[in-house]
């Protein structure tokens, strides 16, 4: 019984903690989707898709 009551009694704390976690979760989801899109683009193009990092100039 106690085990069930603890999280309910502290729901406010858990909710506020989740608010801190939310930006990380949103970001990871967005970046995951973006990463999948980038992978698809890479498969669509053949070979070199960008400038070499060391030689790239603004």
């Amino acid at each position: 019984m106690t085990m069930i009551e603890i999280p309910i009694a502290h729901a406010g704390h858990w909710f506020e903690g989740a608010l801190y976690l939310a930006p990380v979760v949103i970001l990871v989801v967005v970046l995951f989707i973006q990463g999948r899109k980038d992978d698809d683009e890479d498969l669509g193009s053949d070979g070199d898709g960008g400038k070499p990092a060391r030689d790239a100039h603004a």
């Binding site: 603890i6 009694a9 502290h10 704390h13 506020e16 903690g17 608010l19 801190y20 976690l21 939310a22 930006p23 990380v24 970001l27 990871v28 970046l31 973006q34 990463g35 980038d38 070199d48 898709g49 960008g50 400038k51 070499p52 990092a53 060391r54 030689d55 790239a56 100039h57 603004a58």
Partner: protein
């Protein structure tokens, strides 16, 4: 340091008979009530937005490595005589602090030793190092002592001293990592952390261990790899715009020293230990850990049920928390590295972890500022009275023995803004260092940017964690 907080847990359980005195002056929590215009969690969201904007700006405006190739400008040199003088000052200061621990009052707040160790040494020197460079290297007492002994030994033996042993490459910075973890254990877990006599004995044991290590492997090699405090302070000095080398001062752009970090074995472990121990310091003040139904009281009760005393059970509980927090920080970093490893073909994860280790230095410093700024601002003032009466025996050498701490020097709200600014700037700096290194590691700009998606997630994760810990400990 946090005797009051831990004692509160023991009292709540009525089982840990922790015979300690409350010590509000040494506690480094916030003083007073914060008056914030928005909820604290919204700061985490704002910080995440700032980091995402920084990431986009780096991707667009920073297409080639700059920090990796940054140059230093020579400013001036100092006379060779200054080196032994600074060493002697360091030895004298160390000797006096140890003497105060044994000869002074055993009341922690009235003896200069605990405040010097936990506030000036542990917190003040990282601040100084990040601005003025590796100042500790000049005053390192055990290094100065070893060099002095070596200088005499060479003359007595007429140059017939054996060469130091070769330092094992696999050992790298592991001794420093364990040293920092051990110090953090004393500060955050050990029941007698404020006892001046015990602190003095531990200081002597640490110095003896350093002297043995230096005599076996050589002063420079041991100092740069295994002397926990020398390595710890040196890491922060890599962020500084000033750099001392061979008695010459150079200036450089801030952060430019970090890419020159030699990522030898144990470096990632050391940085994760630095961040993890500071995180645990904050976390262990929050309700989730110390609350009536928190993790610590429940875990402590389990160990008491196994037959341990209240004090031992509390120390075991806090040791588990400390180690798990370090592992948690390492896991976040390794998760980011695992993601990066999937980009741009053949990159070994261990190699990537070492290549990007230096990006953790500004984060470690941000955590130090965020967690200990208030301690330095408040308890640092206690030095005014302690230097006048260092042993706590009623003397008043400088006429300042009766001075007190002015808690109005900065408000609780002001401290919160400093903490948020430190975390955001520290993680933005980490992101910049990681982006700069990615441009070297990855063949294409596109891959470099994509690899940093993962580092961005790591940085936002660390920022949110830091703000959540600070917020929880302030409640």
């Amino acid at each position: 340091m946090r005797r009051l907080r831990i004692a509160a847990i023991g009292a709540a359980l009525a089982s840990a008979a922790v015979a300690v005195l409350p010590d509000p002056a040494l506690a480094h929590g916030l003083v007073g009530r914060q008056d914030l215009p928005i909820p604290r969690w919204l700061f985490a969201w704002a910080a995440a937005v700032v980091l995402v904007v920084s990431f986009v700006a780096l991707a667009v405006l920073w297409p080639r490595p700059r920090l990796e190739t940054a140059r230093e400008t020579r400013m001036f040199s100092v006379p060779a005589l200054l080196e032994p003088i600074c060493g002697l000052i360091g030895i004298a200061a160390f000797g006096f602090i140890v003497y105060a621990g044994y000869a002074g009052t055993q009341t922690a707040t009235a003896n200069i030793e605990p405040t010097v160790i936990y506030v000036i040494f542990w917190v003040g020197i990282p601040f100084a190092s990040a601005v003025f460079g590796d100042v500790f290297a000049a005053f390192n007492p055990w290094r100065a002592l070893a060099r002095g002994i070596g200088w005499i030994a060479v003359r007595v033996s007429r140059g017939r001293l054996p060469e130091p042993m070769k330092y094992p490459a696999w050992l790298g910075r592991w001794p420093a990592a364990f040293g920092i973890l051990a110090f953090a254990w004393v500060e955050l877990v050990y029941i007698n952390r404020d006892d001046p006599t015990i602190l003095a004995t531990l200081a002597l044991l640490y110095a003896a261990a350093q002297l043995i290590g230096m005599s076996v492997y050589g002063v420079q090699t041991w100092t740069h790899r295994a002397d926990a405090f020398a390595v710890y302070f040196n890491l922060f000095s890599k962020l500084a715009p000033l750099h001392w080398r061979d008695r010459t001062l150079y200036r450089r752009i801030p952060l430019a020293g970090a890419p020159r970090l030699d990522p030898m074995p144990g470096t990632v472990a050391l940085l994760c230990t630095m961040i993890g121990t500071t995180s645990f310091d904050g976390f262990s003040q929050g309700q989730l850990w110390t609350g009536t139904n928190g993790i610590a009281p429940n875990l402590q009760q389990r160990f008491i049920n196994l037959g341990f005393s209240g004090e031992t059970a509390l120390e075991i509980t806090f040791t588990i928390g400390l180690v798990l927090m370090v592992c948690f920080i390492a896991a976040i970093y390794r998760a980011g590295i695992a993601g990066m490893g999937s980009i741009g073909g053949q990159h070994d994860q261990g190699e990537l972890a070492r290549a990007f280790a230096h990006s953790l230095i500004p984060i470690a410093f941000a955590y130090v500022v965020a967690h200990y700024f208030s301690l330095l601002a408040y308890q640092g003032q206690a030095m005014a009275s302690l230097v006048s009466d260092p042993l706590g025996n009623g003397s008043d050498f400088l006429g300042t023995a009766s001075s007190t701490i002015d808690y109005s020097v900065i408000t609780a709200t002001g401290i919160w803004y400093v903490q948020v600014a430190a975390l955001v700037l520290g993680h933005a700096a980490g992101l910049t260092l990681a982006h700069d290194r990615a441009l070297v590691v990855y063949r294409r700009v596109r891959d470099a940017t994509r690899s940093q998606y993962w580092m961005l997630a790591v940085m936002v994760g660390f920022t949110s964690l830091g703000l959540w810990i600070l917020s929880a400990s302030a409640q």
